[in-house]
């Protein structure tokens, strides 16, 4: 046998081993995943004919099984109790009761992303495409405006790196477009850092909102106050990400990078808008979420579970600081409906 023939046989053997090993692994994973997805979830559900009404929390259910990723509702006074599961799956969700915004991933040979508005019966009334992985969404208090943030993951020979796209629509009305196009004002002076990114809108009313504006080149992550009529974003203060306005409008809860070095470690802080006083709460774990307010004294946020990929819990913590506790197990992206 020639050297060449021996090498050809060697190569064929390598290919066979790789195909058999990868094929076997892929098949076992497919089998495991199919079983996991078809197994009935063991999470506590309300009876099929019951609707959860009154003060309630709407969220993405991350309980493993056939209902994974679906939108679910629990009563605010029994958040760990039985949940009502809707027929829609969302990555991020916010709701006013009659109107729900749902950001979702349409998996397929081509994976695409979209935002959808749903009516009180979870039927889609409108949808539009998103350029990348969904990140944040909020409705204005009366449900007239919707804001969405998604990643823009360009993929090319020369990567342009990270960016986000945050757009605000008036439902059935004006499209305010990408808020990156708004004038960014520092002490009234217009600046235009080239690498600015905007994300995490929280509405005050149907004109005013807060959001994050970041420029890595300038080294700032600003809280900005946006005006939809003037199309401006005015810098309020530095070091604030993903703001969330309290129900009475007096405070903002946000992600704060508390890492001393070059890394990123987000803790949760609360800013009193009137006094400008900032309090970092005692959460030691790294939180990457837009906080939601349960009431004027309690904040909610999601954290992934260690060693259980895809499973997350919604935690509650006093806004004055204190010990975090799981409020809704196996949940993500909470939206609180108050009466």
């Amino acid at each position: 046998m020639t050297v060449r023939n021996r090498r050809v046989i060697g190569f064929v053997l390598v290919v066979l081993v790789v195909v058999v090993a990868a094929g076997a692994y892929g098949w076992s994973e497919y089998d495991r995943s199919r079983q996991a997805r078809t197994t009935a979830t063991d999470v506590d559900l309300v009876p099929a004919d019951v609707t959860v009404t009154g003060e309630r929390i709407v969220f993405r259910s991350t309980a493993p099984g056939d209902l994974y990723g679906r939108v679910a509702t629990v009563a605010a006074d029994d958040p760990g109790g039985p949940r009502e599961v809707a027929p829609v799956a969302c990555d991020r969700v916010d709701t006013t009761g009659d109107r729900t915004v749902c950001l979702r991933t349409d998996r397929g040979v081509v994976t695409t992303f979209e935002a959808a508005l749903l009516d009180a019966n979870w039927q889609p009334t409108r949808s539009w495409p998103l350029p990348g992985i969904p990140s944040r969404t909020r409705l204005s208090p009366d449900g007239a405006l919707v804001a969405t943030t998604s990643f823009v993951t360009g993929h090319s020979y020369m990567s342009t790196g990270f960016s986000t796209e945050t757009v605000i629509h008036e439902i059935g009305g004006r499209d305010y477009g990408n808020i990156e196009e708004f004038d960014l004002l520092v002490d009234g002076e217009k600046i235009a850092p080239v690498d600015r990114n905007m994300w995490g809108v929280t509405f005050v009313d149907d004109t005013i909102f807060y959001a994050t504006a970041q420029s890595q080149a300038l080294g700032h992550t600003w809280l900005v106050r946006g005006d939809l009529e003037a199309r401006t974003l005015s810098v309020v203060r530095d070091g604030v990400e993903c703001p969330s306005l309290s129900p009475n409008g007096s405070r903002i809860a946000f992600k704060k990078d508390v890492d001393d070095g070059s890394g990123v470690h987000w803790s949760i802080a609360v800013l009193d808008l009137a006094s400008g006083e900032e309090t970092v709460l005692g959460e030691q774990r790294n939180v990457d979420d837009q906080v939601e307010w349960l009431d004027d004294d309690t904040i909610l946020y999601g954290l992934p579970r260690d060693h259980e990929p895809g499973v997350t819990d919604v935690w509650a913590m006093p806004a004055a600081g204190g010990t975090p506790e799981v409020l809704i197990p196996e949940a993500w992206s909470p939206a609180v409906l108050r009466q």
């Binding site: 190569f11 040979v109 994976t111 990348g132 990140s135 823009v152 993929h155 020369m158 990270f162």
Partner: protein, 428 residues
């Protein structure tokens, strides 16, 4: 064989023997190596943002930043890879180190836990890609008939790009069947990397371009020693300057896609897949444009290929949002890559002395990569200062002015067709 006949020059200025105008089996094998490796790397690259955000629950901010840094490092490593290939006269060994390094990172992904380890692995993968590119292109040059070098690179880039288009598709098919199947994608990626590595190690001959050149009459018996001075030889220097100038006006597909996406719903919906459209156009055109470059001159095709880029800018910069313009822009970007990527390597390989060929190819590619990075950064400033459309049209205008100048500057680099002297390699 039809292709063989068509490849004969119509003028009959030279009589290429039929066997010599086939594409070398070394080139095809290297193309399949690249195909497997590109499936491997692009499958992971396509799902990494999803994996980092959905499975690990992190943001992609740091990822994009580190990715940018590593693109720069990768460009510089290319010159070192080329230098090592020329010095040792074993380009295959150097390429093998590069492919091996990337293969190891695939195995690493299976056990990597945190964000830091994943970014480190992506970084090492980029270094591996940097190391292997120039030696591999030098091997393609060494194995090809100089008269058909453009076609050889076209064949290689077609196979390479098929891999780049298949990788993301396979990855998303896996995630479709197994929604949390990230590990399965990593296993597929490792498998393809192993096959590519084994193919190169076992079935590609250890070409020794310098030793072969040394046997030619009139050469120093030990072969000419490596010298950076040969890389800076006037005609090569002219190519480097022109490539750099054009690179400074190549702002990156990312911005073209963003400009299309900012006003066209069609482009938004398919945004994550726009690059697949570019890749399909590129792979369909790499061989015909490579052959065209053999016929009419590589320098000419290289410079005029930028007219396609110019047209893509105009599509992206025009005020109307139509699906047709988006598709036209994607096809034009594909034409641009077909006319520049492989053709640049072919031209540098053709101009360089055998003793410095890999280093010359690596240097040319580095010049292009670095100037394009500068262009992307500078264009970011224009993007916000002037607005998307105006910035795009301004760069298009600059490019329109630069193309004729560069065209004249490279005149004479396309020699009268060289006598067909295949440098060997196994001819299929």
């Amino acid at each position: 064989m039809y292709i063989t006949l068509r490849d004969r020059p119509k003028t009959g200025r030279q009589a290429t023997p039929r066997t010599k105008s086939r594409v070398s089996s070394v080139v095809v094998t290297l193309g399949v190596v690249s195909l497997m490796t590109d499936i491997s790397s692009e499958a992971v690259a396509a799902i990494l943002p999803l994996y980092v955000t959905a499975a690990l629950g992190l943001t992609t901010i740091a990822y994009g930043f580190i990715d940018g840094l590593m693109q720069g490092a990768s460009a510089l490593v290319r010159i070192a890879g080329g230098w090592a290939a020329d010095r040792g006269d074993h380009p295959k060994w150097v390429a093998l180190v590069g492919y091996g390094l990337s293969m190891v990172t695939r195995a690493g992904l299976l056990v990597a836990a945190g964000f830091a380890s994943i970014t480190a692995l992506v970084a090492i993968d980029r270094v591996g890609k940097g190391i292997r590119t120039a030696p591999r292109d030098a091997m393609i040059t060494a194995a090809s008939d100089p008269a058909h070098l453009g076609r050889s690179f076209g064949v290689h880039r077609t196979l390479d790009t098929i891999g780049a288009a298949l990788g993301p598709l396979l990855a998303f098919v896996i995630l479709w069947a197994i929604p949390d199947g990230y590990t399965t994608v990593f296993v597929l990626s490792l498998g393809c990397a192993v096959i590519g590595f084994a193919l190169l190690a076992l079935l590609v001959p250890d070409l020794r371009p310098r030793r072969r050149a040394a046997r030619e009459p009139g050469e120093h018996p030990a072969g000419r020693p490596f010298s950076w001075r040969s890389v800076a030889e006037p005609r090569l220097r002219r190519l480097l300057i022109v490539s750099g100038a054009l690179g400074l006006l190549t702002i990156g597909d990312g911005f073209v896609y963003l400009a299309l996406q900012s006003r066209d719903g069609f482009a938004t919906q398919w945004f994550p897949l726009l690059y697949v459209g570019t890749n399909v156009a590129y792979l369909a055109l790499a061989i015909p444009v490579g052959r065209l470059s053999d016929r009419v001159g590589r320098a000419r095709v290289l410079v005029l290929g930028h007219l396609a880029l110019l047209a893509a800018y105009l599509c992206a910069g025009s005020a109307t949002g139509m699906a047709g313009l988006t598709i036209a822009a994607l096809v034009l970007l594909g034409v641009f890559y077909a006319a520049t990527d492989g053709v640049l390597a072919a031209l540098a390989g053709q101009l360089a002395d055998t003793s410095v060929r890999a280093a010359a190819i690596g240097t040319a590619q580095t010049v292009v990569a670095v100037t394009r990075m500068i262009a992307a950064a500078a264009f970011g400033v224009l993007w916000y200062a002037l607005g998307r459309s105006t910035a795009m049209l301004l760069v298009a205008a600059l490019l329109a002015a630069a193309v004729p100048v560069c065209f004249l500057a490279l005149r004479g680099l396309d020699p009268p067709r060289p006598a067909p002297e295949p440098e060997g390699g196994a001819l299929a």
